[in-house]
């Protein structure tokens, strides 16, 4: 029995040995494939980014944008998208999906993207393109549609409901420049009010004095106080000391 068992065991080992060798080989092959793929991905990513950098740094974008501008492609595309309602669908999809936030986060985090965007935005071609787009009838229609769209209302509503916005507003309101501006505005307002009060009080002084002197003359037909009349100078007016003028009160 033990002999048979030993024979079986040796036989089984003889069968499984080549299989285990094959398994080891397959595993090694898979590992190598994974490594090559990872390496290729890294190299390809680097290549793409380098290419993007090179494109952004070159005048290619300007040339492409100028071509687009002269051919009126952007206007055609915008018109078609608006007519077919594609633009609205795209905007709805983008705003409702999580991709926008992710894209924005990635873009904001990436130094290269920021540099590239800055370069693109600073190019004259973009400026000209935007000018043409905005002054074209299609641009006007786009703006009208965006403003009339319920999507905008919903976006504004969501924005107002977001806590971040109010934190931002609080931060702005607490900033020293805003506080200083409000203070100076308030001081200026108070100054204007006091100036007005002063002017009015000077007018009232003259009026009261005239009335009193008229009353005095009615009681006593004498020059008395009128003779001593002193014509007050207007506020801020400064005349030489020797030029105190006699009263110009009406008789």
């Amino acid at each position: 029995m033990s002999l048979i068992g030993s024979l079986l065991s040796v036989g089984a080992r003889g069968v499984t040995l080549p299989l285990s060798g094959a398994a080891v080989l397959v595993e090694a092959g898979l590992d190598i494939e994974r490594r090559i793929r990872a390496e290729l991905t890294t190299v390809a990513g680097r290549l793409v980014l380098d290419t993007l950098d090179a494109v952004l740094a070159s005048d290619a974008i300007d040339l492409v944008l100028e071509r687009i501008e002269t051919a009126g492609v952007a206007q055609h595309v915008a018109q078609r998208m608006l007519e077919d309602g594609i633009a609205e669908q795209i905007v709805t999809r983008v705003l409702q999906g999580p991709e926008l936030e992710q894209i924005v986060t990635n873009a904001v985090d990436s130094e290269r993207t920021r540099d590239g965007l800055a370069r693109v935005l600073e190019s004259e071609a973009v400026e000209r393109l935007l000018d043409r787009l905005l002054s074209s009838p299609a641009g006007e229609r786009l703006v009208a549609q965006v403003l009339g769209s319920p999507l905008l209302t919903e976006t504004v509503t969501r924005l107002l409901e977001s806590e971040q916005l109010w934190i931002l507003v609080d931060e702005i309101a607490r900033s020293p420049s805003v506080t200083e501006a409000i203070t100076s505005q308030s001081a200026s307002f108070v100054g204007q009010v006091t100036d007005r009060v002063r002017d009015s009080s000077r007018d009232a002084d003259a009026w009261v004095e005239r009335a009193a002197r008229r009353f005095g003359r009615g009681r006593k037909n004498d020059a008395g106080p009128k003779a001593a009349g002193f014509d007050p100078l207007k506020p801020g007016e400064d005349a030489p000391a020797s030029t105190l003028r006699p009263s110009t009160d009406p008789p």
């Binding site: 001593a228 002193f230 007050p232 005349a239 105190l244 006699p246």
Partner: protein, 190 residues
């Protein structure tokens, strides 16, 4: 008389002209008023507004202090006699505070905060400088006296060539308008 210097001669002429003016026209009384550097004497309404502002400040401060002291004393259980004494002391302090407020500002800058807002200044009627403390106190006494006969002491300014109230006559002061750029009574001096 040919040896008389021209400037002396001119001064004599001026004095003679001034005498003639005094005799011939009562308008000239305005010319005899101490010069104010070309500034107008302040009128009744402006001065009343300035005084109202000062009164608000004085009594507002007194009110706040009174409330704080009253609340503090309400915690303690003092006998009634002590309350009366404390009230009398606080009343005395209020009088001192009021007199001190006006006297301090009149004798230093010549402007109380209310005067500053209304751009008027109390100055000596003769040398046009700030008042001395004693005269400032006298002037405050004059304010009280002027108020007693139904404010007649204030109303007399309406018929005065230099718009002087009773307190101005007692303390020999005038109240003048100050331009925006005027920072102190010293500037009024020539």
């Amino acid at each position: 008389m040919s040896g008389v210097r021209p400037e002396v001669h001119t001064a004599q002429e001026h004095a003679a002209q001034a005498r003639r003016r005094r005799q011939t026209s009562s308008v000239s009384t305005a010319m005899q008023a101490p010069p104010t550097g070309g500034r107008a004497y302040s009128g009744l309404v402006t001065r009343a507004l300035a005084f109202a502002l000062d009164s608000a400040i004085v009594n507002g401060c007194a009110l706040v202090v009174g409330v704080v002291v009253g609340l503090g004393l309400s915690i303690l259980h003092l006998p009634e006699a002590a309350d009366i004494v404390i009230a009398a002391i606080l009343g005395g302090l209020w009088v001192l505070w009021t007199v001190g407020y006006f006297a301090f500002f009149w004798s230093t800058t010549g402007q109380t905060p209310g005067d500053r807002v209304m751009r008027i200044r109390v100055i000596d009627g003769r040398d046009r400088g700030p008042l001395k403390l004693r005269r400032a106190i006298v002037r405050f006494g004059g304010v009280i006296l002027a108020a007693i006969p139904l404010l007649a002491g204030f109303l007399i300014m309406l018929w005065d060539d230099r718009r002087r109230c009773l307190q101005d006559r007692l303390a020999r002061t005038v109240v003048v308008d100050t331009p925006v750029s005027d920072d102190g009574p010293g500037r009024l001096r020539r």
